[in-house]
Amino acid sequence: MASASSFSATKFTQPLPLNGATSRSHDKHQSFFDPLRTTPSSSSFLGSTRKLRLSSASKLKLLANPNRRSAVVAVSDVVKEKKAKSTTNLLITKEEGLVVYEDMILGRAFEDMCAQMYYRGKMFGFVHLYNGQEAVSTGFIKLLKREDSVVSTYRDHVHALSKGVPARAVMSELFGKTTGCCRGQGGSMHMFSKEHNLIGGFAFIGEGIPVATGAAFSSKYRREVLKEVDCDHVTLAFFGDGTCNNGQFFECLNMAALWKLPIVFVVENNLWAIGMSHMRATSDPEIWKKGPAFGMPGVHVDGMDVLKVREVAKEAIGRARRGEGPTLVECETYRFRGHSLADPDELRDPAEKAHYAARDPITALKKYMIENSLASEAELKAIEKKIDEVVEDAVEFADESPHPSRSQLLENVFADPKGFGIGPDGRYRCEDPKFTEGTAHV
């Protein structure tokens, strides 16, 4: 595209070499593939992936279908590798480790409580739980600033928690109470918090990706058009493997790369779109490869290993923040529960479930921290206890909170307080000289 007509990309600095940032990023499981660079890095990544995928797949005896190359890198590999290195080269500090552990425990405990509350009739409709995928939410979102945006899917409770929305507000929302983060008007699949820049909660496949791309567009627009020079806000778009077969995914990879938008596309590939196996749905199951096809780095990471996810996330978020454009990250993960609480979950092989259950990301992090003397068993226990209390408190708070009042039904349809272009003084809003400045408040 002619540079004169494109949304000017020239104001960005040249991308830094993706593999040169830290010594750890040479780790073969985390290498980026950048189509603009020479090919050796890509071929080594392909080779290592294929080998690892095949070896773990054969362990799983999942080779009945030759296209089925599903398994991810075993978590133990990384732990062993890291153990071999000196303790000064640990992937995480004690403080960071405790924060990450607490966030993952919160996600897990919160979702377990949701299941209980759902079966007790305290929440209703579709409730999609995140169990098993915590390493992705925590690994990415805990690296963000408050001004950075997160766009999620219907499986959004834990993204909200990681972004800092209080457990009380999320639980209350699920209970349909007026103290919820959307006063009970959003529900399980539509979590919003402007304060935390959690901008949805999108219940349709692919719907959140353009919105996230638009959020990233607004960062660039603020910097380049509105001259807010320090606006380096990054947007993370979370979605699943099923979405990667949807047109909006491709449309937005294209435009994000074309306009070099500060966004990271985070694929939470949990291998199943409800009951549709990823291997049965996608011609080429290696989703990360679609990044290079659109001129952006694609990276494949073990989504059951929060430390690996963090490493990749750091690099991708940094890249976006520096104005070097988008990244596609495929996190291979697994959901420990059905698609939603209404899903009987009969299609997934028990052996497959057992395989991933053994790779629980929380257990793995705990092991890493204890083996590397980053935390004692007692410290971690204390965190678990604290989180149990947080979740209990959230339930109590939600339970005691009032239901929305009858009058709330008709509120918030429009930002415009009376909805009909009429201002608080009873005059038409457009007659107000301040109209262009956006004077609406609810």
Partner: protein, 364 residues
């Protein structure tokens, strides 16, 4: 695309109504609807750097219908964005940008293509303020030509007014004249909520007189307010967009036969100005609704319901509802003409409402 060429021939149909109306005005200045839209966009972009235009062919091509002519040169490629042909993608991008306080104007080359993106118009834009309990307002405008074009077949000739107007959270505007186009587009861009702005390809080249007030950069038309284009006492005719011209033409003919028709230009389909409609019906006691869209669950149906609910006792005749034929738009020129309301249809319906004898329809 062909519409640009076609409209010259097709536009003849409504020109008499316009020139007749022009006779009443002594305004010195005239302006095409195209220039009205272009100047409104220009002024709002100039007034507020958060406003940007995005869509297919809006930049280097200067707009498929030249509505955005000159804007790329003036505001640069950062604010006049040529997108790939990806309606779902760029519409959603607009919505996401609006979440963060920008004011996107999303152009659909025609509203027929908004079907590719209706998920974002309804689910991402219209519902977000409610779902987020007022945290996420979406100040965005979706605009482009809507309704029956000429000779382009079923998929490119379709009025979406009643579709979008049935969705809470959206404001739906349909300008007729240059005054409407300028005033409503400026109001839409300034509005803090998502607005669907339904233009008409066949009106773009039409010229209307404009007052000095209309040309002022602060000019704005209130959303939710209809305009009485012509006062009358015997029958009320409601119309929007191109059909306002037809209704005015019909009113001319009716006047010669001694029937005084009041023509209401709805301007805003949602919110609908029920007050103005009902006040008029209470005066004339008769109602004819006109629209190009499909009859079932249409704008006319809604107006009829409103009048039955609020002014039933004032009605002296059954409500006459004129709409497009209940078929996908045919291609053949003679069938196409039959499928959309014509001036004669309005005249005939108004006479029926006034209990004048009507010869059996021979137009077909």
């Amino acid at each position: 695309m062909f519409g640009i060429i076609m409209q010259k021939a097709f536009g003849q149909r409504i020109r008499p109504a316009v020139s007749a109306w022009r006779g009443y005005s002594s305004a010195a200045k005239e302006m095409t609807v195209r220039d009205a839209l272009n100047s409104a966009l220009d002024e709002e972009m100039s007034a507020d750097p958060k406003v940007f235009l995005m869509g297919e062919e809006v930049g280097e091509y200067q707009g498929a219908y030249k509505i955005s002519k000159g804007l790329l040169d003036k505001y640069g490629p950062e604010r006049v964005l040529d997108t790939p042909i990806t309606e779902a993608g760029f519409t959603g991008i607009g919505v996401g940008a609006a979440y963060h306080g920008l004011k996107p104007v999303i152009e659909f080359m025609t509203f027929n293509f908004s079907m590719q993106a209706i998920d974002h118009i309804i689910n991402s834009a219209a519902k977000s303020n409610y779902m987020s309990a007022g945290q996420m307002s979406v100040p965005i405008v979706f605009r482009g030509p809507n309704g029956a074009a000429a000779g382009v077949g079923a998929q490119h000739s379709h009025c979406y007014a009643s579709w979008y107007a049935s969705c809470p959270g959206l404001k739906v505007l349909a300008p007729y004249s240059s005054e409407d186009a300028r005033g409503l587009l400026k109001a839409a861009i300034r509005d803090p909520d998502p607005v669907v702005f339904l233009e008409n390809e066949l009106l773009y080249g039409e010229t209307f007189p404009v007052s000095a007030e209309v040309l002022d950069s602060s000019f704005c038309v209130p959303i939710g307010k209809a305009k009485i284009e012509r006062e009358g006492k015997d029958v009320t005719i409601t119309a929007f967009s191109k059909m306002v011209g037809y209704a005015l033409k019909a009113a001319e003919i009716l006047a010669k036969e001694g029937i005084s028709a009041e023509v209401i230009n709805l301007r805003s389909i949602r919110p609908l100005d029920r007050d103005t409609i009902n006040a008029s019906v209470r005066k004339t006691n008769r109602l004819v609704t006109v629209e190009e869209g499909f009859p079932q669950h249409g704008v006319g149906a809604e107006i009829c319901a409103s009048v039955v609910e609020e002014s039933f006792g004032y009605l002296d005749a059954p409500v006459e509802r004129i709409a497009g034929a209940d078929v996908p738009m045919p291609y053949a020129a003679n069938l196409e003409r039959l499928a959309v309301p014509q001036v004669e249809d309005i005249v005939r319906a108004a006479k029926r409402a006034c209990y004048r004898s009507v010869p059996m329809a021979a137009a077909a």
